[in-house]
């Protein structure tokens, strides 16, 4: 009877050689292994399917412009652009750009692309914007003239996003041919994508890496673990709780910026929140530091005004704290609005994303302190989106990013005259804010734009189309020897994918 235990030990030992096997895939100097936070739902060039898809799209495709590491517009397929006296925006295309099939990039391709984006049957993210373009003219193969229905000072920014891929005009419907630095050369559905450098990319010497291999790690802790254990060379969305570990690891480095932000949205069609004074009371009632600490492990910063990034010309120290934490003032505003004893209401967020839920819980506590008792509603994200768009809520927590660092990029958040959306307050009256946003968009003089947007911030502080809560840190973690990549500042952080064309191992 003594043979059995020995045999069972032998059998148990059989698994050990497996554990000793060299576990890590070797890193090679010409391939970057990049941990994505989500499998791109699809890679359609113009429909928005999230930032992870955007990162891949920015490498396969190119638009007329992109942003440099300082956040300034730079030429891509366009080498220069200007606003002509007759009101047209003119883009001059570079002559050495070719699509992946070798065809030259011409003004006709750009015109065709823009027509697809603005078309009646379009699902493009920029559809509404380009429907405001009255005419697209192509005086020659390398010049494009856009005439808009009303003047738009920020039009070049329209081309800066990741849903603006310029595609060869004779592409088959589901096989868009792009002109980016990489080609999609392989994929393991649901887990990885392989990009290979395009040898005729128009920037000499770029891209520097032969291959980029995207591996999906949906679980944020696993993504961080994959970076720390050396399974990948770089990851996006470093979870806030792991940022300190990445910083202190001698083999790794963190590149983080405050880009996206959290805010409170209101249903202005009924109940107490139709009154701007009640919305302002909410704005003064919340101690933002608690949100930064609780939801983001201190990785972010308080946001007590309209989300204008510090360091931009439109930033104003005083306006940036226009909704400072002041519970006494909040109570006074409530009393003034006829609710001296507060009231009961509901607060919508989602349990699917920890940061939404954590933010909601802090907001709930601080509102209770001034007498607004909120019952939390925490459905899954899908339900949250539906309820938001249909206005089936009282107040809601949301997290988003502006389109770009120009205040016009905040229109989608602040302009409540736009169509109902889960990311915008529902039916809130903020007419002066909307009017000033429109005024700034049509203004070409930089000085006047600054004045207009400061007025816009003043109007928003009173009308309260939303309440800013916190900037959250958006970080890329990478091996220390990964050089040439920069996390773009502010709202542009989700467009940092273009930077991978200059990334390389030192």
């Amino acid at each position: 009877m003594t043979t059995l235990p020995r045999r069972s030990l032998l059998l148990a030992g059989a698994t050990l050689p497996l554990l000793r096997r060299p576990a890590r895939a070797q890193s090679t100097p010409d391939t970057l292994r990049f941990g994505l936070s989500a499998w791109p739902p699809n890679l359609q060039p113009w429909a928005s399917t999230g930032a992870s898809a955007g990162t891949v799209k920015l490498l396969i495709h190119r638009s007329l412009v992109s942003y440099d590491s300082q956040g300034e517009l730079r030429g891509e397929l366009a080498e220069s652009w200007s606003h002509e006296d007759d009101g047209a925006w003119v883009f001059r295309l570079r002559r050495n750009a070719v699509f992946h099939n070798g065809e030259p990039v011409t003004a006709d391709d750009i015109k065709w692309t823009l027509e697809q984006i603005a078309g009646e049957r379009s699902t493009a993210y920029m559809r509404a914007q380009f429907q405001r373009v009255e005419r697209i003219e192509t005086p020659d193969a390398h010049t494009l003239r856009l005439v808009t229905k009303e003047p738009v000072a920020t039009l070049p920014h329209w081309f800066g996003g990741y849903n603006m891929a310029m595609v060869w005009r004779k592409s088959a419907p589901n096989e868009p041919v792009g002109a980016g630095p990489y080609r999609l050369t392989g994929q393991e559905r649901g887990s990885s994508l392989e990009l290979t450098a395009f040898d005729r990319f128009y920037k000499p010497g770029l891209p520097r890496l032969k291959r980029i291999r995207f591996v999906v790690y949906a679980d944020e802790n696993l993504r961080a673990a994959a970076l720390q254990s050396g399974d990948v060379d770089m990851i996006e969305y470093v979870p806030w709780q792991s940022m300190a570990a990445v910083e202190s690891d001698p083999a790794l480095k963190l590149d983080a910026v405050d880009g996206p932000f959290m805010d409170v949205l209101f249903n202005g069609t009924r109940g107490p929140f139709a009154d701007a004074r009640v919305r302002r009371a909410v704005a003064h009632a919340i101690r933002r530091e608690d949100i930064v600490k609780t939801a983001f492990f201190g990785r972010g910063s308080p946001l007590e005004g309209v989300p204008i990034p510090r360091g931009t010309p439109w930033y104003d120290e005083q306006l940036a704290h226009g909704w400072n934490y002041d519970p006494a003032r909040a109570k006074a505003l409530l009393a003034e609005a006829g609710h001296p004893d507060g009231f009961q209401t509901t607060l919508l967020a989602t349990a699917q994303f920890g940061m939404h839920k954590d933010t909601a819980e802090v907001v709930q506590q601080h509102l209770a302190a001034i007498g607004i008792q909120c019952e939390l509603r925490l459905p899954d994200w899908s339900t949250r989106v539906s309820l938001g768009t249909r206005g089936q809520y009282e107040i809601a927590i949301h997290g988003t990013t502006a389109e770009n660092n120009d205040p016009d990029g905040l229109s989608s958040v602040l302009d409540t005259t736009l169509s109902p959306s889960h990311g915008r307050s529902f039916g809130v009256q903020a007419p002066r804010t909307a009017a000033l946003l429109a005024q700034g968009r049509a203004e070409f003089d930089p000085q006047k734009r600054v004045a207009t947007y400061k007025d816009m911030q003043r109007a928003a502080l009173e009308e309260v189309p939303m309440v800013g809560l916190a900037w959250r840190s958006q970080g890329y973690g990478m091996k220390r020897n990964v050089q040439g990549f920069a996390n773009l500042p502010g709202a542009l952080t989700t467009l940092s994918g273009t930077q991978l064309e200059t990334a390389a191992f030192a």
């Binding site: 699902t123 899908s382 990311g423």
Partner: protein
């Protein structure tokens, strides 16, 4: 023969019921797949684009029309295409089901290899040090949730010791060594609960067999202890253990969700989870139908086997 046909017919009706219930419930839950897809990452889409996508995906058709289309596809063996990227649901299932099955089988083999000998040994030395430690360990393993075990394994073996990859998947054909290395931790995690159950079952079952009259008789006949153990104790003790194993294999099929998520193992549950979140109706229905189909198939085979063994069941 008529009984078998009736039994198969019942299974088909059950499959249809499952598919219909899942289809209908999904459409009752709030959430619009078109709006969700275009809102990925908290982005605010243009309502025109959402309306156009809804139309393109056929989501504006009356529910009964959509249901009719779904049933027509089902009779042709077509589960439809994903609303997200138009990928055929059947192809997705064909790609991922083998990986989930591989994970389950690897876990089951690990569990069997550890639990059967350990259970037998513990029973033979009841009350001994090994029995007490192993029984305690089994209770602990049963109590700790899989995601805790999974996360701890990653923390210790991938992040601290750095001897194992943190997770992921490489096809066996591409790199067999790495494939197995990536399989090891999730399989171990899945195995832990099953191993604990099998250990207890084996131990109890062997103890029970040891006290049987025929074992005493065998010993009295002068058979070697080893012969008694292998031929008379373990063989009889295995029957209830195998029943439990069969039952648990079915449960594991639905229970790999957390393990696959924690280890980034691209099996069937990742797309199921993602499809539910994205309200990708055809994908959810297709995967649920596949899983319940497998359950029904196992049940059908079991029933047929029992019937073959015991004629009384056929009459019932």
């Amino acid at each position: 023969m008529a009984w078998i046909l009736r039994r198969i017919g019942v299974s088909l009706i059950l499959a249809w019921l499952v598919a219909s219930i899942v289809f209908m419930t999904l459409h009752l839950v709030p959430g619009d797949p078109a709006e969700l897809l275009l809102s990925t990452g908290g982005i605010m889409p243009d309502p025109g684009a959402v309306a156009e996508l809804r139309d393109r995906l056929g989501l504006n058709d009356p529910l009964l029309v959509q249901y009719g289309g779904f049933l027509r596809g089902l009779t042709r063996g077509d589960l439809g295409n994903s609303l997200i990227d138009d990928y055929p649901v059947l192809a997705e299932v064909a790609l991922r089901l083998p990986r989930t099955l591989e994970l389950i089988f690897a876990g089951a083999i690990l569990a069997i290899v550890v639990a059967l000998p350990a259970g037998t040994y513990a029973a033979l030395h009841r009350g001994g040090a090994f029995d007490r430690v192993a029984s305690g360990l089994a209770a602990l393993l049963l109590a700790v949730p899989v995601f805790v075990v999974g996360t701890l394994l990653i923390l210790m073996l991938a992040q601290w010791l750095r001897v194992m990859p943190a997770g992921g998947y490489v096809p066996f054909a591409d790199n067999p060594g790495r494939h197995l290395a990536l399989l090891a931790l999730p399989a171990l995690t899945i195995a832990k609960g099953l191993a604990a159950v099998l250990f207890r079952m084996t131990r109890a079952s062997v103890l029970d067999a040891l006290s049987r009259d025929h074992v005493r008789t065998a010993r009295a006949k002068g058979l070697t202890p080893r012969g008694v153990l292998v031929r008379h104790v373990v063989r009889n003790a295995l029957i209830p253990v195998l029943t439990v194993l069969g039952l648990h294999m079915g449960t594991l099929l639905g229970g790999t969700v957390l393990v696959e998520y924690v280890f980034n193992w691209p099996g069937l549950s990742t797309p199921l989870l993602r499809a539910v979140e994205a309200r990708d109706y055809p994908m959810v229905v297709g995967i649920v139908l596949t899983i319940s189909g497998l359950f029904l198939l196992i049940n059908l085979i079991m029933d047929l086997l029992y019937a073959a063994l015991d004629p009384r069941i056929r009459a019932a």
